[in-house]
Symmetry: C3
Subunit: 402 residues, 3 copies
């Protein structure tokens, strides 16, 4: 046993300890283990490294700025509005050109509304009345346009009428045109300017190619052939989502324009390009239901010569476009590489554990291998010290390897 020397203790620190292995000359389990190893290796190389690029550090916190600009004019001729030309300032709401914009395609106009009294629309259940008592003064009409004045207005000889209301009068008529007013919005174009930045890698890029000549950017339209042209025909966008523009223009809807930047910064910056996809975001299936379409009301306010305010109410139907940008950039980094290799190797331990189970409990000679793998030691018996593994008297142990 000798003396314990500090030097010996220190030196023993640098002895290398390695696990002792038992070679089981069993081809079945051996092949099984090699198959498991190869599967893990294939998963590690194929999935983790090639597909998921596990050797890269990634940045998903994209900084993005979207500027949109529409172009196009439409001419309409209706009884309500007369001959009228619609340009960008008329049909784009809001005008700022942010990532969400709305193109008006259909309209119900109620001009010259003033604050006064008038009959409520007969389509509103709460405003139906037989006598003045049905219209308590001061009560707001549920889902209606005004406050009841206490009078029930009836046509001559009729039994039912509608309550008189204090409101912006006349109230809106509930009749929608059968075909969209701005049907030619199909030919409008939108220019989408998207600058992105990955702050972790200090990498910036735009979807507008810097090297292009200007005339190309003024005439091109995005398509399969021109995947990097940032000008989109509204009709095409709607078609690519699988919808019909004229139908959608009538009832309105919401369309998402996804811009995806999936950049491998180990390659040249010119390889980092946007990928566009288009989808309809509102529920197109629920037709004619309360949940289909997209519309909202707004008003333009005027004053007459006497300074009295009046307004024109618009119920605008149209298509809202939501430009959504997301992206991911990856660049080689030593730390995720090591971690992925390390956890792949740790997975091999799990594979070995599985093969051990087979070797020790499932094959014919498992009892023999169990005896070889496990060496029983007892401190009380001198004999066991002398010949640890010779007797092979092993108590059966079902959970031994766990």
């Amino acid at each position: 046993m000798g003396q314990v020397s500090w030097k010996g203790l220190f030196l023993s620190l640098f002895d290398y300890k390695t696990e002792k292995y038992v070679i089981a000359k069993n081809k079945k389990v051996g092949i099984l283990y090699r198959v498991v190893q190869l599967s893990i290796l294939a998963y590690l190389v194929g999935w983790v490294f090639v597909v998921k690029k596990g050797y890269q550090d990634t940045d998903t916190s994209l900084q993005s700025s979207v500027i949109t600009k529409l172009k196009g004019v439409a001419f309409t001729n209706t009884s309500e509005l007369g001959e009228r030309l619609w340009d960008v300032a008329d049909y784009v709401i809001p005008p700022q050109g942010e990532n969400v914009f709305f193109v008006m395609t259909n309209l119900i106009v109620t001009p010259n509304q003033r604050q006064t009294t008038c009959p409520e629309s007969v389509n509103i259940p709460d405003a139906l009345c037989h006598q003045d008592e049905d219209c308590p003064e001061g009560q707001a009409v549920v889902a209606g346009n005004g406050v009841k004045t206490g009078r029930c207005l009836k046509d001559r000889d009729s039994i039912r009428g509608s309550c008189e209301v204090l409101a912006w009068c006349p109230v809106e008529k509930r009749s929608k045109p059968k075909k969209p007013l701005l049907a030619s919005a199909e030919n409008f174009t939108v220019f989408i300017k998207n600058s992105i930045r990955f702050p972790k890698f200090k990498f910036s890029k735009m979807n507008v190619l810097a090297t292009n000549n200007e005339s190309y950017l003024k005439t091109c339209h995005y398509s399969m052939e021109h995947p990097y042209c940032p000008i989109f025909l509204l009709g095409n966008i709607v078609r690519w989502t699988g919808n019909n523009f004229q139908e959608m223009a009538l009832e309105g809807g919401v369309i998402g324009i996804q811009i995806e930047w999936n950049c491998d910064l180990d390659q040249a910056p010119s390889e980092c390009n946007p990928h566009y996809s288009f989808s309809r975001l509102d529920n197109k299936f629920a037709e004619k239901s309360v949940s289909s379409g997209y519309n909202f009301r707004f008003a333009k306010y005027y004053r007459d010569a006497k300074g009295i305010e009046y307004r024109t109410l618009f119920k605008a139907y149209g298509i809202r476009f939501d430009v959504m940008v997301n992206g991911k950039a990856g660049k080689f980094n030593i730390i995720p590489t090591i971690i992925n290799i390390g956890s792949g190797l740790a997975l091999m331990g799990a594979g070995a554990f599985f093969c051990d189970l087979v070797l020790l409990y499932l094959i014919k000679k498992s009892n023999f291998y169990r005896g070889k793998k496990y060496e029983e030691v007892k401190s009380s018996s001198r004999k066991s010290l002398t010949s640890p593994t010779l007797n092979g008297s092993q108590s059966p142990d079902q959970l031994g390897g766990l």
Copy 2:
């Protein structure tokens, strides 16, 4: 040693090698190890698989579209505005019905402002003056409404006055009503239509139940009893955040409406339902301070008969609602399942390492077990080859197992 044959080399590839174990008949450490194993197993099954659903591939990149629509009218009678009815086009800003909308509940109106000269408000420190020299011409009033003209306007006999400014005149008076103008906004309702899509799983859903009859959707209000009704009473939303609507209507504020989709796509699609929660986003505690409330100024522009522009300035107080959608979907996938099992097993290795420490250094007979676990080999000594573990002469090694 024999000859090296290629066949032997190849066959040896399929020998299975398994680690040799020493069985230490020590019940204390044995029980400790089983406890550690069971803890890890419980963690793996209970936490990783049952709670965190580690067997699922998840998608958190939700595509969402929100459409909001308010309903309700309010009648007011003030000295400034006279009798007036407010409808959706009047009090919702912006009108588009996006995920952020503002409901005006209080107002300071300054009508008929024109570009001319008038005295600056006396509440603005920078505009106070004793003589014309205090108002240098052309200088903008700090935190004020206009540019100084060089004159100091004083009431008769008074020493102090305020500078004359070129501005939209008259300037706004700093007096806020004691009670909200549109107090009845509490009864307004908002219909929130939210379509979501998990692109990875190609799964779409709406918060409006497709099977509902329309009359239900026109009359229901969201509450504990109707958790899937998408129509919310503004007063309820504010109450659920723990605030008082009338107080909030006076000073304004910001309320967040969180919609959370937590979908287990291994179950039926009908099990994937939105969960709503409400919270106040601006700081309600900082009352009367510079940071409480929410308001902004906007103007409506008119032209008189001569074509001269004038405007009505509104300082609007109200509640801004931010609808925020987030979600997560999970679906069974073999890869995360394997990885989670593998890393759970790897964790067992850490448990074994911990028990080894106990066995080899902390118990009474640790010296003996250390000798059994570590088998010393030296290439120079023939004797050690013959009887590797018999002598048990082990140098003490405190860090040996690390």
Copy 3:
């Protein structure tokens, strides 16, 4: 082999099994292994725990509310608009004070447009004509302002002219001022109020310090010396992005204001403070190109005494500010702590595997160590049972350790 007793089986469950190690007295590999161990330990402690705070549970799903408020007036004197004062309601679009706001700094005004016919701008290629046939009636001018009426309007004696269009007339002239109209916007200030909440930890905070006296908040400006003052001078913001305000005011642009909350909730709440950074989001390099700057068109609509609608068209250039908030909060949690320690230890297994490769295949006496590490067993031979490792006759095995 003895009898199998259930009691023995149960007791054997609590025998502790530990891997048998071979001590290779090879200092080179030993030192290598210690170096690998220390590297992994340093990585685990230094990177995972100290830098990445691996002992913390993190929440990145920040709830944020941004309220912005601008202050400042500007006086302009131009031939088109005369003397005019611009205040917040004039130059901020939209007025609501959300996280994205636009400050108008330059303008092209086209007043008194009416729906009638007039010559299209000569700068638009599609509207150039030699004779009436070049202007087919009803065709919209590509990238133009109206619909052709069929007439070609020429100056006396000239050969070329431009088509007459039905449009909002007169059409916009394409001349941009050489210097920004609202150059003094450089001195405007913006107050940014940002409340955040980490829902997982129920932690809320604001960027406005609650303890500050109000007069400080009314006079301070954000700078290196005042990092927690929420009032920013527009000129400073632009300067910090490396741009010149006057240049940017002329052509417009987009600036991102990032607010980052990186909170260690194991420390006092007062240590959780916002960090501001500023960057230009549109492409400033692409000067004079189609993709530089930021502008949009909007109109104000009026009615004359006869009720005929007319409008003033504005082409507004200016700076759009996008306030983007992101953040991360961490708090001690036992589960990530254990997982990180466990996977660090699993990484040590990978280190041991690497050293095994060196020991068994790369050093001089690798053949000897291979014999010691691997103990061959064969069930058919009685002799091999008696002296398992004595012969050392090991077939060379290149892939043995994998």
